[in-house]
Amino acid sequence: MPFTNTTPDLAAASPAQNAAPPATSTAALLVSLPPQSADALHATLANLTLAFPHRSLLLATPADAPAPPHLATANLHLLTYPPVAAASIELVLPPARFIDADALAQQHQAATCLLLGPGAEVLPPSLLRSLAADSADLILPHYHLGAREGLVNSAILYPVTRALYGTRPRFPLAVDLGLSLRMAQRLANSAQRSLTAGHHEAILWPVAEAASANFLIAEVDGCPRQLPQPPSLDLNALLAHVAASLFADIDTKAAYWQRARPAQPLQPLRETPNPTPGVPDVTPMLEAFRIAYINLADIWSLVLPPNSLLGLKRLSQMPPTAFHMSDTLWTRIVYDFALAFRIRTINRGHLLGALTPLYLAWVASHILFTDAGTPAEQHISDLAATFERDKPYLVSRWRWPDRFNP
């Protein structure tokens, strides 16, 4: 489907008192917007106008989106991209968005791309400006989530990405991205390969892509953000989908991450807002883990070394009040599952299904641990540091999977 250009009429002026200083670059900026309601689109456009009052903006919206309001900026050009079929898993930016953004950027010679995810109307102008800076190839926001939000990211995605690629972004699967032209092109190529292979719901890993291409990665302070939630939360299916994609990407980029590289400097910990008093009921998660320990120990023994199995046995015998999964144990579990995914120790569907109860055990442990007084961000940072320290274990097992590892 061809892309179309439209230029809006000039109408209302943007408030001068909130006008931002000129952006560092004056070249055209492509902003790819998600499907939004008319109100949300209006709010997003208002924020963008405030963020880039002196910069030429190419706004790309889905062709079937509601007509955008008329804004009074001569440097605003509206484009459309083919509507993306609704995905059953709406956690991340679909591959087609990367391809469309890159095509539009090439076509209109944009210097930088800004890809925004669902709910982008809450992003303040300052954050939009930071994301569109041309100081790095990939710029991700550090969202301000609650202590009990984004747990899969905290448990697996962030620590693994940080340990393997030496990068620091707290949300490797952020839905709002600032991309240089070459980064957009690289992601579009990767997305194209996924679509050619028929994987329309593939997850792209921008941080891993940027790291493996030696591109510059930056993280900017974000804002409170409601991340897109899937319409029906089937944790088993979603966790399996995300973990399978992550493990497959690790396998693809094994030649890169096995080599030791300097890690990006650590950012100071951001304080998470204190959760409302009271602990969520962790009993169902503990029960799920105990049932799994009784029934899945045979399957886990095919994947995990004896030391981890012993740790799980101890964990299954702990009373709920003292339940705590050590960072080392969780690190080894994730690494061993990644390895089993690679060498197909058991069917991959079974492998990922067997990961769910272990993840729930980690969630229960994390909740109890943070409720005891440890700040959530501190715990996640310590966990990520453990993943970094234990990386040689993964490298060793990756190279010699048959070697005995107690």
Binding site: G146, P230, P275, T276, P280, N295
Partner: protein, 245 residues
């Protein structure tokens, strides 16, 4: 009379030895054909593996990603998949040649040709059925076990065992039927066993799920009631919800 007994025995031994002597060359031909083709297959597979590795076949496939070949390959290597396919194709061809040679060493009307050869092919089919049935049983048992555990069913292992034995019993009946052993007794025994397992599973699930169903119904009723009250009295404080994503 002893002479007649002696004569009958010597005739019988002579006939048996003659049959064995005529049977052995066919058997040796079968074994030689299988062994030679296995060796040829191993040689071909090794050569093919070297050629494909030299031309970076795996990397090309990974780059194109036009098909999920790698997903079906052992150790994620399409090269290994092709090499193994060639090897086993050669072994199968060897088996075919051997059986043909075995058949050719007997006349069309000989009992070996009439009874043994069809039975041999049936036996090979039965072994294949047994292997495939076992694999399916293990796969389904594991799938049911993991699914049931993630659904927090206490009787997950029992369910998994039930499914496993259902498939194994079905496989066993098919194998015996293929070998033409047992006749109607096998069919009858299979019907009884299969029906028994299904009934046991149905009873177990029905009885075991009573609590789940009642909990689910109670939850629905609670939700309907709380929806009605929430509109009037929104909660003032609640524990932060967990968000996995």
């Amino acid at each position: 009379m002893w002479q007649q007994v002696h004569f009958a025995l010597s005739q019988s031994a002579h006939r048996a030895l003659f049959k064995l002597a005529s049977f052995l060359p066919g058997l040796v031909a079968l074994l030689v054909a299988v062994l030679v083709m296995t060796a040829v297959g191993a040689l071909l597979a090794a050569t093919l593996r070297r050629i494909l590795a030299a031309t970076h076949f795996d990397q090309r496939i990974a780059r194109n990603q036009t098909a999920a070949v790698a997903d079906w390959s052992p150790a994620h290597s399409p090269t290994l998949l092709i090499a193994r396919f060639v090897f086993w194709a050669c072994v199968l061809i060897g088996g075919g040649i051997g059986i043909s040679a075995f058949d050719a060493s007997f006349s069309n009307n000989s009992p070996v040709s009439v009874f043994l050869l069809p039975y041999l092919t049936h036996a090979i089919g039965a072994v294949l059925l047994l292997v495939v049935g076992n694999l399916i049983a293990r796969f389904l048992a594991r799938s049911v076990l993991i699914g049931a555990v993630n659904a927090r069913l206490q009787y997950a292992r029992f369910l998994s065992l039930g499914v496993k034995w259902l498939v194994l019993v079905l496989t066993g009946a098919m194998v015996l039927d293929h070998l033409q052993v047992g006749g109607t007794v096998v069919e009858l025994a299979f019907g009884i066993l299969f029906g028994g397992i299904v009934l046991t599973l149905a009873l177990a699930i029905g009885l075991g799920s009573r609590e789940i169903v009642s909990r689910s119904l109670e939850r629905n009723v609670d939700l309907t009631t709380s929806d009605a009250t929430d509109e009037l009295n929104p909660p003032t404080s609640a524990v932060d919800p967990l968000r996995h994503f």
